[in-house]
């Protein structure tokens, strides 16, 4: 197998590992804490109800997975591709560690310290590595903030979702708008590197005015970063069932677009850059270095139930359900439940859908170098039309950089490009 990235024909696609399908940079480490004190009706992540005690017990199993994967003691059975990819990841240098969930802030200080200790113990961490941590407002107080800071948390992501009590109730959250405000203020005062606020918009019956109030509140608090997601109703969630029964109606496309564009325009005025369809940073250093890895096909290792890993064109995923994951890890087995080796076409579609949702866009020249497939020539007229329509910035040749209008339709553009 060639280790030199270079042009190849599509007929040679479907290798088990392909370094061309990976961006050369330090890897990211994701740790999934699946517990929440209650499960929100819109959430389709791998989560289950559990209190702090359960989360602490979970930490022990997670530590075992961390150690076993790092030492290469467990290998996914049946296929060399995921084993090799995991092996590669285990020996990588990491410059991000991300604790997500679920609700990582349910973890007690000591178990959290043990998890992070294990990570530092067994993985090669870059000295400038950033530690991301997701927390719910109801778990935020000064002692905990101090502890998280001491443990090295440099980016704190607060699951505020809304500042409006009615909306919070609808979303099944356990904090009030007032508590959210206090949590953000305290976090900002705690001297962490970056404080990010998560909000959800596009709720049923939400108006532009209603959303504006929440947005202005967020801007006024002065966070370093905002993650603003539109409500999506996914299969398997209580909201999905409500929609099927006709009890929940999503906003129509025109209003969704209006809210999206208002958000991007207003945050631009307030000094934020829209570096991704849902992500806004007050300065480039506040951009999410970890999420960027997902968007660039950088290598990442995911541990914990449902976590995904990626290296050299191979994507793997752990057992989604916590009990199954736990049984595997406790039995000394790999928790990897499945994997896929990206084909050139699959890699291209991902690169388009991920690239077009970021300010940086996607460079068709680079895609051609990696896959041997030229998209620029067969799509020349289409790309020209998109530039005329204002979806892409002018110039740049084969480098497609979406405008604000283009970001709003990134998925559509990704599927419209024809792949020869």
């Amino acid at each position: 197998m060639s280790t030199e990235p270079g042009p190849k024909t599509p007929a040679a696609a479907a290798p088990e590992m392909d370094p061309a399908f990976e961006t050369q940079e330090p890897a990211g480490l994701y740790l999934h804490v699946p517990y929440c004190s209650a499960v929100c009706p819109y959430c389709d992540f791998a989560v289950r109800r559990g209190d702090g005690d359960r989360a602490d017990a979970f930490a022990e199993v997670l530590i075992r997975e961390i150690r076993d994967v790092a030492s290469g003691a467990v290998a996914p059975p049946d296929d060399p591709a995921p084993s090799r990819a995991l092996g590669r990841l285990a020996t990588s240098t990491f410059d991000t560690v991300y604790l997500g969930g679920g609700t990582p802030s349910l973890l007690g200080g000591d178990p959290l310290a043990e998890v992070l200790g294990a990570v530092t113990d067994v993985f090669d961490l870059d000295p400038g590595a950033r530690l991301f941590f997701e927390a719910n407002p109801e778990n935020v107080d000064d002692p905990r903030l101090a502890r998280w800071r001491d443990l090295g948390v440099s980016v704190l992501s607060l699951g505020v979702q809304s500042f409006d009590d009615g909306e919070l109730k609808f979303l099944g959250r356990r904090h009030s708008g007032r508590e959210a405000v206090v949590a953000v203020e305290r976090a900002l005062a705690a001297g962490l590197g970056t404080v990010s606020v998560d909000l959800i918009y596009g709720l049923p019956d939400q108006t532009l005015e209603g959303w504006s109030r929440s947005l202005e509140q967020a801007i006024a608090l002065g966070p370093d970063h905002l993650s603003l997601y539109e409500l999506e109703v996914n299969e398997g969630t209580p909201f999905f069932k409500q929609r099927r029964r006709g009890e929940l109606t999503e906003l129509d496309e025109d209003l969704q677009a209006e809210l999206f564009h208002h958000t991007h325009t207003r945050l631009g005025e307030a000094g934020f850059e829209s570096y991704e369809a849902c992500s806004f940073a007050r300065a480039p250093r506040h951009r999410s270095r970890h999420n960027g890895k997902y968007w660039r096909h950088a290598p990442y290792l995911g541990l914990g139930p449902s976590a995904h890993s990626f290296a050299a064109g191979v994507r793997m995923w752990n057992e989604r359900l916590e009990p199954r994951w736990r049984k595997r890890v406790n039995a000394g087995q790999s928790a990897v439940a499945g994997f896929e080796s990206l084909t050139a076409e699959g890699f291209i579609l991902e690169a388009l859908m991920l690239g077009l949702r970021t300010m940086g866009g996607v460079d068709l020249g680079d895609l051609r170098r990696r896959t041997g497939i030229d998209l620029a020539t067969p799509n020349r007229d289409r790309i020209e039309r998109w530039r005329d329509a204002g979806w892409l910035h002018e110039g740049d040749g084969p480098h497609l950089r979406p405008t604000r209008l283009g970001l709003a339709v990134a998925d559509r553009l990704a599927t419209e490009l024809s792949v020869p």
Partner: protein
């Protein structure tokens, strides 16, 4: 001949016709219990499902009566829908008597009356049978009263039975023998046999079902078909007893089958008269009326790869369905398909469903139309059954459309609703005739084009099932037919064009535009959907360009899942039909075209 009885069962829907037929077959031992299945004569799944008989079936039952003699009872089944009324008429022509079934709990219904009149038209002896006497709600006295007052029949002749439990079925059999007349006819006379149905057997070719009126049919005989003027040699004759039972001859008065080397049902015509080629009858039997398609529509396979399969399926289906016509057709939007002719909307629906179920084809159907006549300014006369061939309005001198004479039987209380329905369908000359207390026969002249769209369903709905309906073709009358085109960003979508009366044009065009607005996804540009007559726009909707299509959360491991979603969308896009630069999903055609028939 004295031991033959030819009869049919006529009944309002759900009054138990098929169940009684089952019971008669069972009681005569024509089929043993092991072979027995419910509604044995309704052989198509579709018939069982809908509880209607579409294709007639016939069976000869041997019955030893109380007088000690063994009779041949020929039960001639009749279809139960107006589309197939030509088949009903031919079936009735093959009988001397009819069992008129009345539900003991519901009494005489409108359709019972209608069927009675039809049977009387053919001089059949009527034997009333009160069925479902086992029901707690059965009211035999009331049923008797209604047989007297509503039908004018002797209520004390009525046999009582429960086809469900079998009670009284013996009495019914005795009444058939005792009260229905035997056939008349002379086995030595020149041969006259009516073809009242035909089936296709993949080994033997066409099996003609015949009623011998005069003379005798025998193996080896040379046959002459009096209307189609063709000659065949008989290979086999026999009786129909669930399976075919070969006999030496079929004499005057009998009902049976004839196999004579006929390759396709298209080579013969139902209703034709068989005679002996060497000793011909002076004239054919009366009542010949070829089944002519009156409703036309195009069928397209949803996957264009299925075209070859659709061709084969139609060829096979038509071996057994002489009324179905089809010829090659093509649409810019939908590719190759067939222009088909049907006896009516139910026939259309039956054909469509059989193609979908028995041949596993996914189909699109264009708007059904009738045959219009167009006189051009240069004097040319045209017959148009396909919007594609409708001339430019500037060339047209006059248009005319077929009218039917509709007979509608209803309880008096629905007169208002039915009048309104008829007026809505441009009915002319509405007249009433009081049949009996509270029952009305309404006759009217209605454009056939107005009837083929859901008229029968609407009638059933406004009369809560009490209305019944029959029609015969009348004539062509001057009218104002226009062709409505549907334009997508200025390009006409040929498969969506339709012919309609000018008064209806706007309503129909708007309906199509709105359905398309609902089903065509937003695209890069604004899409105008218009309904137009010639260059004149009569309806319009628009679809805005897409503005928002990006997943909110896209991080963590859901990248594979998200990619698969987009792959699916891309796959769906490949199956879209291009009209100009606009991509139209198959679902849009299905939604638009289905809403016409299914309403």
């Amino acid at each position: 001949m004295d031991t033959i009885r030819n009869f049919c069962i006529i009944a309002h829907i759900d009054h138990g016709k098929s169940t009684l037929a089952d019971r008669l077959i069972q009681q005569c031992g024509a089929v043993d219990d092991r072979e027995f299945r419910e509604q044995i004569l309704d052989s198509m799944d579709l018939e069982r499902e809908r509880g209607i008989t579409i294709k007639s079936n016939t069976i000869t039952l041997p019955y030893t009566a109380q007088d000690g003699k063994t009779y041949s009872l020929n039960l001639i089944d009749t279809p139960g829908h107006v589309d197939f009324s030509h088949e009903v008429r031919r079936s009735l022509m093959s009988c001397e008597g009819a069992l008129l079934l009345v539900d003991a709990s519901q009494g005489v219904e409108a359709q019972t009356v209608a069927n009675l009149y039809l049977a009387l038209e053919y001089d059949l002896e009527i034997l009333p049978v009160i069925n479902k006497i086992d029901l707690p709600s059965a009211d035999i006295d009331r049923a008797r009263e209604e047989i007297d007052s509503d039908l004018g029949l002797d209520p004390f002749e009525a046999a009582l039975c429960s086809a469900k439990t079998g009670e009284g079925v013996g009495d019914v059999l005795e009444a058939i023998v005792g009260k229905l007349p035997p056939p008349k006819g002379d086995p030595e006379a020149p041969l006259q046999a009516l073809i009242f149905d035909a089936q296709y057997d993949s080994y033997r070719g066409v099996v003609m079902l015949v009623r011998v009126k005069e003379g005798t049919l025998r193996k080896g005989q040379e046959l002459f078909l009096m209307h189609t003027q063709k000659t065949y040699q008989i290979e086999e004759v026999g009786l129909l007893q669930l399976s075919r039972n070969e006999t030496k001859t079929l004499e005057a008065g009998s009902v049976g089958y004839v196999i004579a080397g006929v390759k396709s049902v298209r080579d013969i015509t139902i209703g034709d008269t068989l005679t002996d080629a060497k000793q011909r009858a002076p004239e054919p039997l009366p009542g010949y009326r070829p089944a002519k398609p009156v409703v036309f529509a195009s069928l397209y396979p949803i996957a264009s790869d299925d075209y070859a399969d659709l061709t084969k399926a139609l060829e096979k289906l038509s071996l057994n369905d002489a009324a179905l016509t089809f010829e090659k057709d093509s649409s810019a939007a939908l590719g190759y398909g067939f222009r088909c002719g049907f006896l009516g909307l139910l026939h259309l629906e039956v054909v469509q469903q059989r193609l979908e179920r028995e041949y596993d084809l996914a189909l699109l159907l264009s708007a059904p139309t009738v045959m219009y006549r167009v006189k051009l300014k240069d004097g040319t006369d045209l017959e148009i059954d396909n919007p594609v061939f409708f001339p430019d309005p500037s060339e047209i001198e006059t248009t005319s459309e077929p009218y039917i004479k509709a007979q509608i039987w209803i309880p008096e209380r629905y007169v208002g609703a039915v009048m309104e329905l008829c007026r809505d369908r441009r009915a002319e000359n509405i007249q009433f005739n009081y049949l009996t207390q509270g029952r009305i026969e309404l006759t009217s002249e209605i454009p056939l084009g107005e009837v083929v769209f859901d008229f029968y369903d609407r009638l059933k709905s406004v009369t809560q099932g009490y209305g019944s309906f029959d029609y015969e073709m009348l004539d062509y009358r001057d009218t104002d037919i226009v062709k409505v085109d549907i334009l997508v960003n200025g390009e006409a979508v040929d498969a969506l064009s339709q012919l309609t009366h000018s008064e209806r044009a706007r309503q129909r065009a708007l309906h199509y535009c709105e359905r398309l607005e609902d089903t065509i996804p937003r695209q890069q540009f604004k899409i105008a959907i218009q309904g137009a007559i010639g260059g004149k726009i009569i309806a319009r909707t628009t679809i805005s360009s897409f503005r928002k299509d990006v997943t909110a959360k896209c991080y963590g491991g859901d990248i594979s899942r998200k990619r698969k979603l987009l792959e699916k969308q891309k796959e769906g896009k490949k199956r879209m039909k291009m009209v100009g630069a606009v991509e139209i999903p198959q679902e849009a055609f299905v939604a638009v075209l289905k809403s016409e028939v299914g309403k």
